[in-house]
Symmetry: C2
């Protein structure tokens, strides 16, 4: 009999009582957001028209290491947390590897992803401030679903700008969001000035996350008692997502284990940041030195081929400038790209940690190889993984296979951020071999880079 | 603070080590299956061409109260069990009821349902016997998915006859089944004699579960080293599903609770039987007396409007005759019926328990009312429920509302057998108010009853 159970669950009263903010512990802080008009670091009052106050404060906080999780948010967390840390015994056996593979599974809720962790917190603070309406964008749909769920629970109105190509390809995602009571609009739309402008320039566009962000912000600013909320990239989102890594650490402590390698898929950084930052603290404190690997798609290679520079977070160029790894706010992944992880930029915190080599490596994966890993994982471990999460599975399998070569029994942890129930189109393409890979040409990347703004003294 | 956590999880080593067979404890046994050729009770050798031997033995066993769960099956169970018993605090609050509502949630696996409990067991025994191929049918798709998952794990070939209307309306369900490596055929098909005959009679038919069963059995019998497996109705399926009720009892013991009312949705009886039989034992042992309610759709009202008589389990009339509540093997629910629970018959064990008033009540629900309950539940409890399970939610809500009237703080348990991620068409119909109800007319029921065979001396 095995000593370590397959699933290590914490008790409900062991759900973390605080979130961890890595900024105070960073040897060098991430560069500040820059106000594109003033060309100066963003201050609290710059953010308040767009964000609720508590979230804006969290966004700018560089000194508070731990934020208490409000009791109401913890109560809501109990509907889907603690999430299990799972030992992938079946996958290990299939790979004939001496490695021990663990995954933190965040997909056991209707959003099918980790996104609900931050959605719950953001909606709670907005409600507490007396706001009644929220806007947001969604790409693959997990964030929109998560936010709709939290809005249903805390009783807030929600409008979701859904990237048009997803709106059309994923009608069932849209239906789930609507079931929880939210209003869903295909972006670009004629409900905003920016949407109209983009539609006029490019009537046939399938939209992009950057464009949907522009529309959601415009709608929030123009609506009474309304604010905008964002599901990734920002510092306060990483803060809320730290519940993933904190729970993972607590679960490892229960079985007296610690990972040698930590792998997270990364689009805007909320999943990888949430999983990794509590472990990065151990590295910064010189207590442990796990090896950190970020997994991204070759078709949107922010870390592996992007520039580390200031860029807008949206296509309409109305957000603050963020210093981050970016392929340019005008970059759109090639049409064959399935699944999410299609944001042009990256969390400034994760960007800085990678730039400073505190995060060790970023790896870009081709999607056919990712779906091959996903299918193997599904057969062994029963869970049908999200395409996004499967980037991390691909890397975990590759690392486990290396261990088979070297004979090392490394402990590998990866974040299984979600499930793929709404991605069956992509699985079908993989099965019938119509799925293709596309490595962006240098010219395609240069076209993206050309959209990065140049402001004097800002880089 | 609340004393009882929202989710009561057992430890992995608390997964039951045995399944419970209620037959030895029944005051009167269910009537035996009858061989339609011999017009005598089915014997082991009659079953062996169709079923694997161990399952056939379990099917006929009337004396063994507990069957040990094989270690290999328990290991597989650990990929998705124990499942949580959840206290529906949010729903209680929404309903302003003094009742305590609990649900046993079986949907946290990729099949999205409880079906994997029996799939794992059945595939294991078939593999152990040296079989290499299996056939089955699937309607809404949960059973087909579950069986494909178990076949991927235990490495068995699988062909799934999927009711044509589901095949067409649920392409993503089909894709999930295929992802796990199974072959999916729309039924009726031209791959079997029975399929060809039905197609010739009714070329435009959308198929039925009864028809798909006929095809799967024919294919199994005609293929070397192949057997047929079934996801509901049969005694050995109820046996395997007893893991639901056994776990539920163990979880209740941990919090020193016991349900006053137990509600299960019922199509063929695997879910309701699995949840209820361990509690029915308490009633038969005169230890406890919970009130049992079966929830079924008005559009397929086997318990509430069916006959308790011998009928075929399939449309092609090649199965044994089962004495059960049935609306007739030729009955097809009206086209507007969404979701599963569309089998014409019912588990003979559950039928007998209901007939003998050991199960107290059966209630038929209209689907708009069911989806109203589903949507409320989703908003409160975050989980998007399956249409099938939502019949039980409907009854649980109604019982909780009665408690609000009477002031009674009853403890209500229902089985949340699965999730509705692949049923968004139906949710969309509910939202845009194109969903309709249809109570079968007496004439429609009579047409179904007309398909019930009449054999001398068999009723």
């Amino acid at each position: 009999m095995k000593n370590i159970p397959r699933k290590i669950y914490l008790q409900e009263n062991e759900i973390p009582k605080v979130w961890y903010n890595i900024v105070p512990d960073m040897p060098e802080k991430q560069a500040p957001f820059i106000h594109p008009g003033k060309l100066k670091p963003v201050e609290l009052e710059d953010l308040l028209p767009v964000f609720c106050e508590e979230l804006a404060k969290q966004e700018l906080d560089e000194t508070t290491r731990y934020f208490e999780i409000p009791e109401e948010v913890r109560e809501y967390y109990k509907t889907f947390r603690p999430s299990p840390l799972v030992r992938a015994y079946n996958l290990e056996k299939e790979l004939k590897t001496p490695a021990k593979i663990y995954y933190k599974f965040e997909g056991n809720n209707t959003s099918g992803s980790h996104k609900l962790n931050s959605a719950a917190a953001q909606v709670y603070y907005c409600k507490k401030q007396g706001l009644t309406k929220l806007t947001t964008e969604t790409g693959a749909g997990q964030w929109g679903t998560a936010l709709a769920m939290a809005c249903a629970y805390f009783e807030m109105d929600l409008t979701v700008y859904m990237v048009k190509v997803s709106f059309e390809q994923k009608p069932f995602r849209k239906a789930v969001i609507q079931t929880y009571g939210a209003n869903v609009i295909a972006s670009p739309s004629d409900t905003t000035d920016i949407g109209k402008k983009i539609l006029a320039q490019n009537p046939g566009t399938g939209g992009s996350l950057g464009c949907a962000i522009s529309e959601a912000i415009e709608a929030a600013v123009k609506t009474d008692n309304c604010r905008y909320v964002l599901g990734s990239v920002l510092n306060h989102v990483l803060l809320h997502q730290s519940v993933i890594g904190l729970e993972t650490k607590a679960a490892f402590e229960k079985i007296d284990e610690y990972p040698d390698i930590i792998i997270g898929c990364t689009g805007g950084g909320s999943n990888s940041g949430g999983l990794m930052t509590p472990f990065i603290k151990d590295k910064l404190d010189k207590k442990q030195s796990p090896y950190f690997i970020l997994a991204e798609p070759v078709s949107c290679p922010s870390f592996t081929r992007g520039k580390f520079t200031y860029d807008f977070c949206d296509t309409g160029n109305i957000t603050p400038l963020a210093k981050m790894y970016t392929v340019g706010n005008g970059y759109i992944p090639s049409a064959n790209h399935a699944g999410g992880l299609r944001f042009h930029g990256m969390s400034p915190i994760m960007s800085k940690l990678y730039h400073d080599k505190i995060i060790d490596e970023a790896r870009a994966e081709e999607q056919t190889s990712v779906f091959e890993a996903a299918t193997l994982f599904a057969k062994c471990e029963t869970i049908l993984p999200a395409p996004e999460s499967s980037h991390a599975i691909r890397v975990a399998i590759d690392e486990a296979l290396k261990c088979r070569e070297t004979g090392e029994a490394k402990t590998i942890l990866f974040g299984l951020s979600g499930t793929g129930y709404f991605d069956m189109n992509a699985y079908e393409q993989f099965m019938d071999k119509t799925m293709t890979d596309h490595i962006p040409t240098d010219e395609e990347l240069e076209a993206g880079f050309a959209s990065i703004p140049k402001f004097p003294g800002i880089e």
